[in-house]
Symmetry: C2
Subunit: 265 residues, 2 copies
DNA sequence: CCAGGCAACTGGTCAGACCAGAAGATCTTC
DNA sequence: GAAGATCTTCTGGTCTGACCAGTTGCCTGG
C-alpha cells in the first residue's frame, strides 16, 4: 500500500531535497494563476467583472484559445461565471463551496467509497456539528432553530417540499451555530451525496411518509432540547442514532459494522 | 441568511415543483460530462488512455477548441492528465483527493474560513478517525503502525524529510484502519490545507525541531497504545489534544474558543 | 547489432472567421 | 412625448486551419 511518494527511505541517505525536475508551465495555466491570484487576493472582489476575452488577449499577449482555456479552468473551480453576450465580461464569483461539494460528490460516486462509508462519514460530521453547536449556540440560534422545527411540523404531511426545505434550513442553522462553515459545507455535501445514492436505489420500498415526518419532527425537537441545555454529548448521540436508524436498512450488511462502530462514543 | 434557494415558502402555496428555467448547455460541458461519466462509471479506469484530441473531434463531432476546453475542465478536476507529445492521448487518473484539498485550500485562503476553523475541522476528523480505528483496527494495521512509529524514531532529528514521510504514512495507516476512505481523504486534504496556511505565516518562530520530533514520537506511541487496547475514547482525546497544543499558538485569539469547544467530549 | 536520423504522430498555441445572444442606441409609430 | 420595434455593436461560444515543439518508433547506415 501507499506506493505513491515513496521517497521516504531515500537510497542516498543524505536527507537533502533533490533538484526538482523542471516541468513546462502551460500558458493557460499561468494566465489562470494570475487571475486566480487577483481574485483570492481581494482585488477583483465578488461581483466585479473581468475584462472581455479579446481585451485579455491583448493584456496577456496570448491567443484567445489560451485565454478561454484559462477562463474555463477558473469557471470549473467556481471562481468566475461567464454568460454569452454579456457586454460586461465574465463575473467574479469569489470562492464558493460548490466546488468542494462537487469534489466530494465525485469521491462518493466513484465506487471508491460505498454507501456505508458515506453514511458513516455523515454520522461523524453531523454528530460533531451538533456537539459544537451545543457548546457555542447563541439564544438567537436557538430561536431560529425552534422556528424552523415549528415550520416543519406545520408542513408535516401535506407539503413535503416545504418540509424538506425547513429540514435543510434547520441543519444549516445548526451548522451555523457550530461556528464552523467548513464543517457545515462538508456535512451538506455528504448529505447531498447520500441522498443522491439513496435515490439511485429504488426508494419506493414502503415507508409511510407521514409517519416518517412525524418521527423526524420528534427527533428534531429532542436535538433542539439538547442544544438548549448545552448537552453536547446527548446532541451528538441523537444525531448519530437518527442517521443510523434511518439509513441502516439501505447499507449492505457487510458495511453495517462501519455504522455500528461510529454509533456510540 | 440563507438567501439561496429561497423557494421554501412558495407564494403559490401549492406544493408543486415549478418548471425549471431552461438554460443553454454549452457543447464543451456536454463533452466533459460524457467523459466524466465514463470515468466515474468505471469504464475508462485509472491508467487507461483517452483517444487523441483529433480523434475525439471526430467522435463528438465538435471542433477541437471545444474538445480542448472540455479536457481542460476534466484536467482541472484532476480526472485526467495530458502531456504534450504523448502519442497515447490523455491519461485517466481517476478520482483523487487533490481536487478536494485544492478546494479546501482556496476556502481557507479566502477569509471565508480562517485557520481556526481549519484546525477545528482537522481536530474533528482526526479524532473520529482515531476513534474508529481503535474499534476496527486489525492486528495487521497495528503492526504496520508500530513499524512506522519506529521509523519516525529512527529518523528522529537528523532526517526531517524521512520523519514527516513516516508521519504522513502513519496517519494514512490509521485512516486505512478506520475503514473509511472518505474520512481519510478529507483528513488528508484538511491536513494539507493547514500546512499550506501555516507555511504562509512566518514559520520561523523559534521551536526546537529535534525536541518537537521527540514529543511527536511520544504522542504517536500513546495513540498507538490506545489503538492497541481499543480505547476509542482515549485515542480520540489524544488526537484532539495534540492538534490543539500544536496549532493553538497560530490561531487568532478570537478563534481559540472554537478550538477549545472542539477539545473535550 | 546498434546509433542516428527521419517520419508520424501528439498536445499547445495562434489567428481569423462566423454565429447567437444581450444591451444600448436609434428610429418609428401612435 | 412616450412606447415599442429595429439596428448596431458589443459579448462569449464554436469552428477551421495552421504552426510549433515535443515524443515515439521505425528505419536506415554504419
Amino acid at each position: 500500500m501507499s506506493t505513491d511518494t515513496d521517497t521516504g527511505t531515500d537510497s542516498g541517505g543524505a536527507d537533502r531535497v533533490p533538484f526538482e525536475p523542471i516541468q513546462p508551465v502551460r500558458a493557460y495555466q499561468r494566465v489562470a494563476e494570475q487571475i486566480e491570484e487577483r481574485i483570492l487576493g481581494g482585488e477583483l472582489p465578488p461581483g466585479s467583472r473581468l475584462p472581455a476575452e479579446r481585451e485579455l488577449v491583448k493584456q496577456f499577449a496570448v491567443g484567445r484559445s489560451t485565454i478561454r482555456e484559462a477562463l474555463r479552468v477558473l469557471q470549473s473551480s467556481g471562481l468566475i461565471r461567464s454568460r454569452p453576450g454579456d457586454p460586461q465580461g465574465a463575473e467574479v464569483l469569489g470562492v464558493s463551496p460548490d466546488n468542494l461539494s462537487q469534489a466530494l460528490a465525485r469521491l462518493a460516486r466513484s465506487s471508491l467509497s460505498g454507501l456505508g462509508e458515506l453514511v458513516q462519514f455523515r454520522m461523524v460530521l453531523e454528530a460533531e456539528s451538533y456537539r459544537l453547536a451545543a457548546r457555542l449556540r447563541s439564544e438567537d440560534d436557538l430561536a431560529r432553530m425552534t422556528a424552523l422545527v415549528d415550520l416543519m411540523e406545520e408542513a408535516a404531511p401535506a407539503r413535503p417540499r416545504a418540509f424538506s426545505e425547513a429540514d435543510a434550513d434547520f441543519h444549516r442553522a445548526v451548522a451555523e451555530a457550530s461556528g464552523n462553515a467548513l464543517l457545515a459545507l462538508c456535512a451538506r455535501a455528504v448529505h447531498d451525496a447520500v441522498v443522491g445514492v439513496i435515490e439511485g436505489k429504488l426508494t419506493g420500498s414502503g415507508g409511510d411518509a407521514g409517519e416518517w415526518m412525524r418521527r423526524s419532527v420528534a427527533h428534531h425537537r429532542q436535538v433542539l432540547a439538547a442544544l438548549r441545555t448545552g448537552d453536547a454529548h446527548r446532541a451528538a448521540h441523537l444525531g448519530r442514532r437518527a442517521l443510523y436508524e434511518h439509513y441502516a436498512e439501505f447499507v449492505a450488511p457487510e458495511e453495517r459494522e462501519l455504522l455500528r462502530a461510529a454509533l456510540d462514543d
